[in-house]
Amino acid sequence: MMDHVATIGRLGLLALREYGKAGLLLARVVFYPPNLRKGVPLVIQQIYAEGVLSLLIIIVSSLFIGMVVALQGYHTLAKFGASQELGPLVALSVTRELGPVVTAILFAGRAGSAVAAEIGLMKATEQLSSMEMMAVDPLKRVIAPRLWGGFISMPLLTLIFNAVAIYGSYLVGVKWLALDAGTFWSNMQSSVDFRLDVINGIYKSIVFGLVVIWIAVYQGYKSAPTSAGIASATTRAVVYSSLAVLSLDFVLTAMMIGEW
């Protein structure tokens, strides 16, 4: 009996230790005195690898998500004779929910997994240790640029996702289903508030970006230095960050709607 209780306790302590290590990693990256001359080019390289190279999947999926939401929304709204409210429906659901959440999950799959695998392989092939041998801090040279790159890329990707998804809904609603373009935009403008809807969505995406890239970096950094270790680090990076995004989304929405 006591053995089982002890097992539970040990698992809890292990989990807490993981959180502590991840927190220390983040704190050491964030509170490190940054070297602007050397650091900025590295961060730009990572924005390219994590942000620019994710653009294709973000644009294609947001176009289709906008078109599907418009099509589904039109058929439901038309039953109530409210098809002129399609613009607000699409704009509010995209800027408040779909934009930040779907971008974060795609970002975890496209960039988070790549970062975790890359760092994991660097560790397995002892590149990180050899950097330490050469008095190069891998935290500064490898971890920090990836973390900042992801942190900066994520809100920018969300902005592009939002705009493209709304353009997709415009294509379906106005060009295909022949809603009036003026009603579509003016109803959208009268019900979407810049601060409450657009900016709150961007706040969400900033939080998601930090969480996704933090989990990816940490999972890569602590992975077992074997091929199986890299595989499980990649999987965990994607699974944990998707779960974290979905549950944090609920908390953040409750905070924003409840006006905490």
Partner: protein, 168 residues
Amino acid sequence: MVSQRTIESFVGLFLLAATIALIVLAFKVSGLTSFFKGESYAVTAAFDNIGQLKVRAPVKIGGVTIGEVSEIKLDSQTYKAVVTLRINKNVNDIPVDSSAGILTAGLLGDNYIELIPMYSKDFLRNGSEIQDTHSAIILEKLIGQLIFKLSGGNDNTKNDSNTKGANQ
């Protein structure tokens, strides 16, 4: 390996695209016309019942938006709702004896405040109060009155037909 210069130009384009997306979201989607609100002056009006009126609801004259509701609070002495209206500075010739009413946009739409100008030569200024106010129409009360009227009206028609029958 892509050269650092190519990477930098791609990242620059990426930042530019995101900025354009933000501008589109601000002006085309959320209809943000100005980041800084224009000069305005505050006028108060006390209502018995404000219904579903909310802060930021529009204030209109003849259907044209001239300002918005900036504050709603309860007067603890009179138990009336004191609504503060912020009206654009360039609409500075509203007579003081104008009346303010809370109307509903459409059957189930949001509430807004409609000002009906009167003929006084004195104009509303910062801090002045609109005396003549009309409360919001509460749909439930209206339906209650309608049902009461209808049931009363039925009795009357019965009486009418009875008297008619008696006359014949």
